[in-house]
């Protein structure tokens, strides 16, 4: 039995927190466009939904330890691109490279196994399960011995690890045994973001993670994004709220009508410029 198949069979522990730069040639946390190695590269990726072209030959790179903002109007192709990276849809054409190795995802599980974690726009939680069960969904820890081989869960171990992991990322107010359906909207979103945060090893994708959140919860999410970056993990951050994007990102990529139209250092771009790129018209001219 291979190591991978053993992991699939018996689940796995949450990865231990790593210091900045561990696992690769990472220096201090980047302040602008990182010179670190490219962990994700999309080449000429196209996706169609029937007659609608959602992505048309997109090229994109993301580097280790940087936060890349992905902005665009509704229908620009951001979520489709996320789904391609996360393995939930297969592109019509194009190539995906992770750490310079070309990958073809047969399922979302393959992307997860490659260290790519995603928070989708709809939250992606099972409301009838507990926080710990959601945290370990699809990666359940099984009991040792014959009970484990029969598929029985080690719930105690999962809850203990969930408590530790949540505490590590500063979420001490959410009990791991609580049902997700009983949490407030903000707490649910926090759990939805926390799940990939504790598992992320290479790339973390956050699709509209600040939707429906109050100011306090938004601050918490942005803090988590910085915490993940400090571990040398690449974060792809999608949001319509441009001030948050400019605040937390190192680099901002703009999309329009299924194509990448611009790529800026966050420190060197204005909201007006981003809006102009997103809509294809000059904001200044319209004022």
């Amino acid at each position: 039995m291979s190591a991978d198949s053993r992991q699939a069979e018996h689940g796995t522990d949450i990865p231990a927190p790593e210091g900045p730069g561990s696992g690769g040639p990472v220096g201090p946390a980047p302040s602008g466009v990182s010179q670190e190695r490219i962990v994700l590269r999309l080449e000429d990726v196209s996706v169609r939904y029937g007659a609608v072209r959602a992505l048309g030959g997109v090229n994109f790179v993301a580097r280790q330890g940087e936060v890349v903002g992905l902005v665009g109007d509704n229908g620009a192709g951001k979520s489709t691109m996320v789904k391609v990276i996360a393995g939930t849809i297969t592109p019509e054409t194009g190539r995906i490279f992770v750490d310079d190795v070309e990958r073809r995802w047969e399922s979302p599980h393959a992307a997860l196994a490659a260290g790519i974690e995603t928070v989708f726009q709809d939250g992606g939680l099972a409301p009838h399960l507990s926080v710990a069960s959601n945290l370990f969904l699809g990666r359940e820890i099984l009991r040792d011995g014959i009970l484990g081989r029969m598929g029985f869960l080690n719930q105690g171990k999962m809850e203990a690890q969930a408590e530790q992991a949540l505490a590590h990322i500063g979420m001490t107010r959410v009990p791991p045994g609580a049902g997700v359906g009983r949490l407030s909207g903000g707490q649910r979103q926090a759990v939805a973001v926390a799940r990939p945060v504790v598992w992320a090893r290479k790339i973390l994708i956050l699709d509209e993670p600040t939707n429906h959140l109050g100011v306090t919860e938004v601050v918490e999410v942005l803090r988590l994004v910085r915490e993940v970056r400090s571990r040398g993990i690449c974060v792809i951050f999608i949001s319509h709220t441009l001030p948050y994007v400019i605040d937390v990102c190192d680099r901002i990529v703009t999309m329009r009508l299924g194509q990448v139209v611009s790529d800026y250092r966050a420190a060197e771009v204005t909201t007006d410029q981003l809006v102009s790129d997103m809509t294809g018209s000059s904001v200044a001219a319209s004022l």
Binding site: T88, P108, L112, D122, L129, S133, L137, R139, M150, F152
Partner: protein, 334 residues
Amino acid sequence: MTNVGFRARSVGQARRVLERYAQEVLLGGVLVALIVFFSIFGQGFLSQINITGIGQSATETGLLAIAETFVIVTGGIDLSVGAILGLAGVVGAKVMATNIGGGVPGVDIGAGIVVGLLVGGAAGLANGFMVVRMKLTPFVATLAMLGIAGGLTLVLTDGLTVLGTPAVVATMGNQVLAGYFTIPILVTIVAFVIGALYLHYSRFGRWAFAIGSNSSAAADAGIPVGRHVIKVYVLAGVMAGMAGLIDLMRLGTGSPLSGVNSNLTAIAAVVIGGASLFGGVATMTGTVLGTLILSVVLSGLVLTGLQPFWETVVTGILIAGAVGVQQLMRGNGR
């Protein structure tokens, strides 16, 4: 820790446990109240023979309800379990009656059991295929199987009871053990225990709950949703096949009429037990209590002199009442 502090903590823990199991406590209370009621107004309700009779009649509903619980947890429904029960029962009876074991009853019976379970599993696989691959809604897919399996049962039997099974089959199905139990009752109890363990403490059950709770989230988490749903329908088919064989043991013959009303009672047992037809919510304890409540009510009504034709009417009323109570409880924050 002071006595006061300890007592306050204990009270708090007891309250949390009570809140968590409120549904089961309520159902247990209803069951006890029904038993008291019928023991007063139903002649011979608490007699040994009637208690065993209630257990025997609960076996068919119970096994189908276990199957239905897993399906309903995923957000699906299986309208074909009764028809699969009938088909597996008559096919098992025919195999047992063919004397392929050369007169050795064990071989005939063993072959009949294996074939009966395979028939159930195959029907479940077809249901899963229709739901997952053909994208039919569970209602439509299993309605189609209801027609197919029910029709095949009549085609295979010409509408006649299958006779000629080894005599020991009926003996095994009806011999009373330890005063109250029979082999079908013991099989059903074991199936409930295993079903409860797998539903609540295994990855199989956890994934079923996750799919019923939010199938997109389950897929995003890497759970092979389609494959798992197929497995659940296969399990339901096998359980329905097992119910057919248990029915065969009880009757000693393969009846083409077996399972005709079983869908209604199985779904009723699960719903009375607190399962949500939207998926993600069910307990096997609730299903056990739902099964027992139905069996007690149906037996008790007969003993109070009500015509048996009222059975389905009462079952329907119980479903409506149970769902109404659940809505009220969930509306109050449960």
